[in-house]
Amino acid sequence: METIFFYLVALVTVVSGYLVVRCQSPVNSGLALVNTFFCLAIFYVMLYAPFMAAIQVIVYAGAIMVLILFVIMLLNLGTEARKRYTHGVVWAAIASLLVLLNLVFFVKRGRVTGAEGDITSSLIMTEGHTELIGKALYTDFLLPFEIASVLLLVAIVGAVVLAKKDV
């Protein structure tokens, strides 16, 4: 059952990823990208990471994609949809095929090892995923967390300065 579900979601993910790349109108690409984000959120739930699935839906599908769709609307890009919308298809296809072969080769031939942690799925079920993430963020990763907040502040100021007509 889980296998069938996995393959179904994987199929939808890959097809909507393909639509992101191939759709002529940027709005259609954006909606296909939202679909991909939802499928990835389903994958995160299947991997016992419900908090990550929630912020995938809220931050990516909610905030970032709405921002992108607003900019598409503001720039009124629908009018130039008739023109040629790609370039260098052959070389790009060869390059991305090489990337794919490379990645699949390493996934098939390699073996995943590493230092095993102690966060088992039963611990996630009893303790709660959000609590575990919060504990890790505010103890081991406190400095990166603070730096991320500074980065967001810089991004807000930078976006306002860049988008203003005259500074």
Binding site: T13, P26, T36, L47, S96, L100, L103, T120, L132, L151
Partner: protein, 99 residues
Amino acid sequence: MSVYHYLTVSAILFALGTYGVLTRRNAIVIFMCIELMLNSVNLTFIALSRHLNSLDGQIFVFFVMTVAAAEAAVGLALMIAFFRNRETIDVDQINLLKW
């Protein structure tokens, strides 16, 4: 499902994103393809962190999302500024730094 299945899906998504970045002419669609690649890497991180019973990969995904949000804000502001100057965001027209 083993971790290899998730890694394969992630590899396919990454290759699709590469193809989109290299072929599309609209800068916003290129931006969306970059988001697709970032998301495929996020899937890799979460699959591996689940496989290794560790939480560090998921914390890293958290920071990748933060950087993606910052990138979205600054990148879209750049596109608006460019559109105001040149009336287009076609990357074939944005060629002043090309050799």
